[in-house]
């Protein structure tokens, strides 16, 4: 086994181990009832933001395209999931919550994937700033589109309209325009969140260490050289973009079914930027980093609730400090020296940014 291969294997194992151990510990805490209420309520959102961060990392870190509309895909998934779950329950009387949740997640992934293809075709022809601007606009378009969408179940049929008056009286509203998806039956579970995180990690880590993933990285590193090696650029950019949007859609369904109402304004530009912060903080192309930073930055605002008014201020300062410390070469080399004995234990030197990036 070559050194690069071993490092990659160690990196992947550490990533999975961190997630699995965290799940087992938390699951144990839930059984023992030693978990705080606040943390318990955070578990599913943490899973959601981990998946969002890892999938956005695929677009930004691995494929090298700045996408600012990632929350848009999450919103597509959330509303699709809410509609599918509500429709199955109200029109078909499906009581099995797990099956409904799985179908909602699959449906959310599919619709977000289709949206990803539709957006990707024009958008991925653009580069750099333009791509960022268009994806940003897409996020806003989705939000405004949902704002005027009315979906209801009437007599066992799904009614879809952009005008509320078209919805017959007495129909069970699923998506009520700007009020969003209403009266959702909360069926999301932490276990499903964990499964989604694992699926995301498997998909993303296996993808970047395969032929397709190498092609995606090659395009990021040097587009012209990749093309002249016979790598079709649009195909592979699209592959990364659509994979990320499918994952975002799946987790969007989980997120939507975790609360009784979902409103379109939950998925604004700010939310996309939030996910971007997770990615940048965790390190571009570093999957484990995304997992950790998404977890910390989801928990942090809650922990800082005690500071009330100063909460966002402290949050911002923490962010700035972390950015400075992780990017300072002196501090990094100091940290590397501290970690050297640990690395020796594994018998190989790891590049300081982790194997997945290499």
């Amino acid at each position: 086994m070559t050194r690069a291969k071993r490092n990659r294997l160690i990196y992947n194992c550490v990533t999975f181990a961190v997630v699995i151990i965290a799940f087992i510990v938390l699951q144990g805490m839930i059984e023992n009832k030693t978990i705080t209420r606040a943390l318990k309520g955070q578990l599913i959102p943490i899973c959601c933001w981990i998946v969002m961060a890892v999938s956005l990392n695929l677009v930004i870190g691995i494929s090298g395209e700045l996408s600012l509309g990632h929350a848009g895909f999450m919103s597509v998934g959330a509303f699709t999931g809410a509609v599918i779950s509500g429709w199955l329950l109200n029109a078909h009387g499906m009581e099995n919550e797990t099956l409904r949740l799985v179908l909602a997640i699959v449906g959310g992934g599919i619709t977000a994937g289709i949206t990803g293809v539709i957006i990707g075709i024009p958008v991925l022809r653009l580069r750099g700033d333009y791509l960022a601007i268009v994806t940003l606009a897409f996020g806003e378009i989705i939000r405004n589109l949902v704002n005027v969408t009315y979906i209801a179940v009437a007599d066992g049929h799904l009614v879809f309209s952009f005008l509320k008056k078209n919805v017959p009286d007495g129909a069970r509203m699923l998506v009520d325009g700007a009020s969003g998806a209403v009266k959702i039956s909360k069926i999301s579970t932490f276990t499903m969140g964990f499964i989604l995180v694992m699926v995301t990690l498997i998909v993303v880590l296996n993808l970047i260490n395969s032929r397709s993933g190498r092609a995606i990285k090659a395009i990021r590193d040097n587009r012209i050289a990749a093309e002249s090696m016979g790598v079709p650029v649009t195909k592979y950019k699209m592959m990364a973009f659509v994979t990320a949007s499918v994952l975002a859609g799946m987790v969007g369904a989980l997120y939507g079914l975790n609360s009784s109402t979902v409103v379109p304004s939950q998925f604004t530009f700010n939310q996309s930027i939030n996910v971007l912060v997770f990615v940048v903080l965790g390190g571009l192309g570093n999957v484990l980093g995304s997992v950790i930073s998404a977890t910390l930055l989801t928990v942090l605002p809650e922990v800082l609730r005690a500071f009330a008014d100063y909460r966002m201020l402290v949050y911002a300062v923490v962010l700035i400090l972390v950015m400075i410390f992780t990017n300072n070469p002196t501090i990094r080399s100091f940290a590397d020296r501290l970690l050297a004995p640990v690395k020796k234990l594994f018998g190989g030197r790891r590049s300081d940014k982790g194997g997945a990036q290499a």
Binding site: N206, K217, I224, A225, E227, M229, A358
Partner: protein, 286 residues
């Protein structure tokens, strides 16, 4: 056109398209044929009426003063630019309307004047990108780690190391490409291009930045590559020792036009070429 003389090793013979190819390639389909190839950038004729034929196993050179349009010719052949006039035939196939990827699949591979490696990836992964269209499996097979993934990855690994061994670089397989020394980066670019299984290899200043010893080694390797892979090589180079030493047919470009074609001897003795490089003699200028 220029008369045909004996090169030290190869006999060059004329072909119908007013070009010359090595005698051994005469019966074979030429790898590259360009007819009246030209491109204009907003009225500026960067390349004009460029006719060149390269035999199946020929090592050809493209030389000329700075700004003569040599790299533009490469960009026309590899379809970075769509020519405004004329045609490019690769192995007899017209490349009109093709893009870079399609041209690459026809069997063209190139290196770049300013090195363009995938510098954040390892040396081996760079070569594996070259193998992208040679050894294939789908995205799903990769994500689900199906048996095909393992067999194909193993084959990729073996072939990548085989290719790297041409330049004795197999020990560097795990090194980040961007951290290689300059000469090794140039060699890696050649290996990566070879991995695409080309029939025509375009080298854009392969010896730039190399010391005389390294250049000597490179010359041997270029001949070795040609013999081993039985491919044609067209190279742009300013190092005349390299060009005159290994190129069988040489084409001189100035201001976008071919000013001379022929063997090394022809070119060295051609007054037009000397003038393009060194300018007119004082008494002649008067």
């Amino acid at each position: 056109m220029t008369e045909v003389k004996r090169h030290s090793t190869t006999k060059m013979v004329p072909v119908p398209s007013h070009s010359i190819v090595p005698e051994r390639d005469l019966g074979q389909q030429p790898v590259l044929e360009t007819n009246h190839l030209g491109i204009e950038f907003g009225g500026l004729k960067a390349v004009e009426d460029f006719n060149l034929t390269i035999g199946k196993t020929e090592i050809a050179g493209l030389i000329g003063p700075n700004g003569a349009g040599k790299t533009t010719v490469f960009n026309l052949i590899t379809k970075v630019y769509e020519p405004t006039n004329g045609t490019v035939l690769i192995n007899g196939k017209d490349t009109k309307g093709m893009n870079i990827v399609q041209a690459s699949r026809l069997g063209i591979a190139r290196t770049f004047q300013n090195i363009r490696l995938f510098s954040n990836m390892t040396v081996e992964d760079n070569v594996r990108i070259g193998l992208h269209n040679q050894i294939r499996y789908s995205m799903m097979e990769g994500i689900l780690r199906l048996p095909r993934y393992w067999t194909k990855e193993k084959r990729m690994h073996r072939e990548a190391l085989d290719l790297l061994s041409i330049f004795d670089m197999q020990d560097l397989a795990d090194v980040q490409a961007g951290s290689l020394p300059y000469g090794a980066q140039r060699r890696l670019e050649i290996v990566r291009a070879l991995a695409t299984n080309p029939s025509l290899l375009l080298l854009d200043e392969p010896a730039a930045g190399m010391n005389p010893h390294e250049t000597e080694e490179l010359m041997e390797n270029i001949i070795k590559i040609r013999d081993q892979f039985q491919i044609a090589i067209l190279l742009i180079e300013h190092d005349m020792n390299l060009v005159m030493g290994i190129c069988e047919g040489i084409c001189v470009l100035n201001y976008g036009k071919i000013i001379a074609k022929g063997t090394a001897d022809d070119i060295q003795n051609n007054p037009v070429v000397v003038e393009a490089y060194l300018g007119k003699r004082k008494e002649e200028a008067k």
